[in-house]
């Protein structure tokens, strides 16, 4: 099994290289990308099953014993993230092909998209803090290129903000790495897990905060999220979906990983994280309410829900982390679905402004149905997966008697429902308010290609499967949480017995 671990990274890289070579043939590129991403799905699923049965999978790049080389580790958290991300990447690729927009117009799309996939997977499987930086960079540089594909003025503007802020985050990450190496003499995460507790408490706290904030920029938490709602909506339709679904979650993953693995309980920043979570939730949802543009609304909304995940983590209990893990998985799928639907709306109605479109429940009932399920889910309405996540979080919060955050999360949940209700009311009910939209909807070009609809439907179905299989998934999340709260299991798997 362990030989499979690097595949989700190396195959997309190889695929990207071949796609660059085959830049003149879109067919070859498509076959390559689809093949690679499908393989990724298969490999990830196998890894998930094996890891759940046999425990943490470890392989050493170059065959060098840890901590000499770079350790690649797949534990339950990484495995589930791999599975979900590879499914989303594949679905969105199909959607993008169906859209016949950026993917068809730019030879750069396929290779860069594959590198994005590689970067995301690499972030999940790495057991080395510096390698996490490299993985982030793969993912980020790919996202820069995808975000600005087409070079329209809005993209260039937001691209500048996005790249500059990401670069600043990366620089601070390097700074953090330098400081950590200076203090501990290692960047291997398992070794760090052993050595950081030996440091003076102030330095421990400093590192903990520094890493939270550095990853927090990528995760989009308060007060570091501003770049996110400005930049995501300008990306090409399909790309926004992947950004929304995956990129922030890689940041969340990094926060979960670093907080649980690297820091002993007394250096874990539960209170700080709770404060961050609360503000993130509230400010994000208020931002969403103030918008008029569907994709901007949804983008702010990502921020809000990142708060939920941080809330779960901040409790540092099995119940809390399990809920956070479940919520991350749910959110990736559901948010991707929502953005894909937003793309469908834009394609069908020619705009995604709430003030301009309307009445899609009659003119495009399929899109309405595809929107309804993920919207209900994200609003936390039962029995959809969002409810299970919310229920888990609130239960865990009440269990830990953190009343304030419970109250905040419920309030935000209400506002989320209100946001979704507004979207439904303005986009799907009523009549289009803009004659240009009416005119566009009468043209043939406004028909949505079946491949786009099918890809969206596939993701929506996945979100429903999360509801159906919430039971097994939740117990998996609980096992994951138990594993995360016992970092010694991880350390032992990487460094071997008796370390």
């Amino acid at each position: 099994m362990n030989a499979l671990i690097p595949l989700p990274v190396i195959l997309p890289i190889l695929g990207a290289a071949l796609c660059v070579i085959a830049a003149r043939s879109r067919t070859v590129q498509r076959v390559l990308s689809l093949a690679v991403l499908t393989t990724n799905v298969v490999v990830s699923v196998i890894l998930l099953i094996r890891v759940d049965d046999d425990g943490i999978g470890v392989t050493q790049a170059g065959g060098w014993r840890a901590p000499l080389g770079i350790t690649l580790v797949v534990d339950r958290l990484a495995a589930v993230m791999l599975v979900v991300s590879s499914l989303m990447l594949l679905s969105v690729l199909i959607y993008a092909i169906g859209q016949r927009e950026e993917e068809a117009r730019f030879a750069a799309f396929n290779p860069v998209y594959l590198v994005l996939a590689a970067g995301v997977s690499a972030s999940f499987i790495t057991g080395d803090l510096f390698n996490l930086f490299v993985a982030f960079e793969m993912m980020l540089v790919a996202s820069y290129v995808l975000l600005t594909l087409g070079g329209r003025p809005g993209q260039v503007r937001s691209g500048m903000s996005y790249v500059v802020i990401s670069l600043i985050a990366s620089t601070f990450f390097i700074t953090a790495l330098a400081l950590i190496y200076a203090a501990t003499g290692t960047v291997n995460m398992a070794q760090l897990s052993e050595r950081i507790p030996e440091l003076p408490s102030g330095v421990q706290v400093g590192f903990s905060l520094l890493l939270i904030l550095v990853f927090g920029i990528k995760a989009g938490v308060f007060p570091l999220f501003f770049w996110l709602p400005d930049s995501y909506p300008t990306a090409p339709g399909a790309i926004t979906a992947v950004f929304a679904g995956l990129l922030t979650k890689v940041g969340v993953y990094a926060i979960i990983r670093s907080q649980t693995l690297l820091f002993p309980p007394d250096a874990q920043q539960g209170t700080v994280l709770l404060v961050i979570a609360g503000f993130t939730m509230v400010v994000g949802v208020l931002g969403a309410l103030a918008q008029d543009d569907l994709r901007r609304m949804l983008s702010f909304h990502i921020v809000s829900h990142i708060g939920y995940m941080i809330f779960g983590l901040a409790l540092f209990t099995i119940a809390g982390i399990a809920a956070a893990v479940f919520y991350v998985v749910h959110h990736i799928v559901v948010k991707t679905a929502l953005f894909l639907v937003a793309g469908l709306v834009e394609h069908r109605a020619g705009s995604d402004r709430l003030s301009r479109v309307g009445g899609l429940v009659r003119s495009a009932p399929m899109i309405a149905v595809l929107f309804a399920f993920p919207a209900l889910s994200i609003a936390g309405l039962p029995p959809f997966s969002g409810f299970v996540g919310k229920f888990g979080l609130v239960s865990a919060g009440i269990d830990s008697t953190d009343w304030v955050i419970v109250a905040v999360s419920l309030l935000v949940s209400l506002l989320t429902m209100y946001v979704m209700g507004r979207i439904w009311s303005d986009v799907f009910w009523g009549e289009p308010e803009d004659p240009e939209v009416v005119e566009w909807m009468e043209t043939d070009a406004s028909r949505v290609p079946w491949l786009m609809t099918s890809a969206t439907a596939a993701v929506v179905v996945m979100s429903l499967l999360l509801m159906v299989f919430a039971g097994p998934l939740y117990s998996y999340a609980e096992r994951t949480a138990a594993e995360l709260l016992h970092p010694e299991i991880y350390v032992e798997s990487v460094l071997g017995e008796g370390s």
């Binding site: 190396i10 290289a17 830049a23 170059g62 065959g63 329209r152 003025p153 809005g154 003030s355």
Partner: protein, 188 residues
């Protein structure tokens, strides 16, 4: 989404000044000096780059340095000639170099997995060939070669992106007023 700001008069003036300086033709003497020095330096740097590539494992150097050296040599050529000269230096188009480089490194990384080892595990091929006698080919060298190729590809592509086309070149029709670039209107 930002609406392009209309250039102010000073802007245009200063941009025109930039155009003039960018388009300034070199004098004949300058050209001659430059040409000659490039002619001497260029192959020298290439040899140096080759040295760095091969010696890298034991002496300072390596794929990055080697690739960057080639890049520096190319930039010299670029200064004396133009983008065309840079592009024609290599038979392969730049994206092929780039792709092949990464493909080479990735294959080297992947190979051991297929053979039952760990990813990136290094291997050696040793042959006794008639003329070269003992030849040792390590996988790390191939990996480093891939690195160098990627770096060269990057430099070539960067020159292709920024290098050609003087300001005001008739080929540059797109100044943002191109109809493919939308003027976003926000309804109030």
């Amino acid at each position: 989404m930002s609406e392009p700001m209309p250039p102010t008069p000073e802007d245009v003036e200063s941009s025109q000044a930039a155009e003039r300086s960018a388009n300034r033709r070199l004098t004949v003497t300058e050209m001659l000096i430059l040409d000659t020095s490039v002619k001497i330096l260029y192959p020298a740097i290439l040899v140096l780059a080759l040295y760095f590539l091969f010696a890298g494992h034991n002496r300072p150097g390596g794929g990055f340095v080697s690739g960057l050296m080639v890049g520096a040599a190319l930039s010299l050529r670029f200064v004396s000639g133009d983008a065309e000269a840079v592009r024609s230096t290599f038979r392969l188009s730049s994206h092929m170099i780039l792709g092949l480089g990464l493909a080479l490194s990735a294959t080297v990384a992947l190979m051991p997995v297929l053979l039952g080892g760990s990813i990136l595990e290094h291997g050696e091929l040793e042959y006794d060939l008639p003329i070269f006698h003992h030849v040792k080919l390590t996988s790390t060298f191939a990996f480093d070669l891939g690195v160098a190729l990627v770096v060269i590809g990057l430099v070539l592509m960067a020159f292709a992106a920024f290098g050609d086309g003087r300001v005001g070149d008739p080929g540059d029709e797109d100044d943002g007023s191109d109809d493919r670039l939308p003027k976003v209107r926000i309804r109030r």
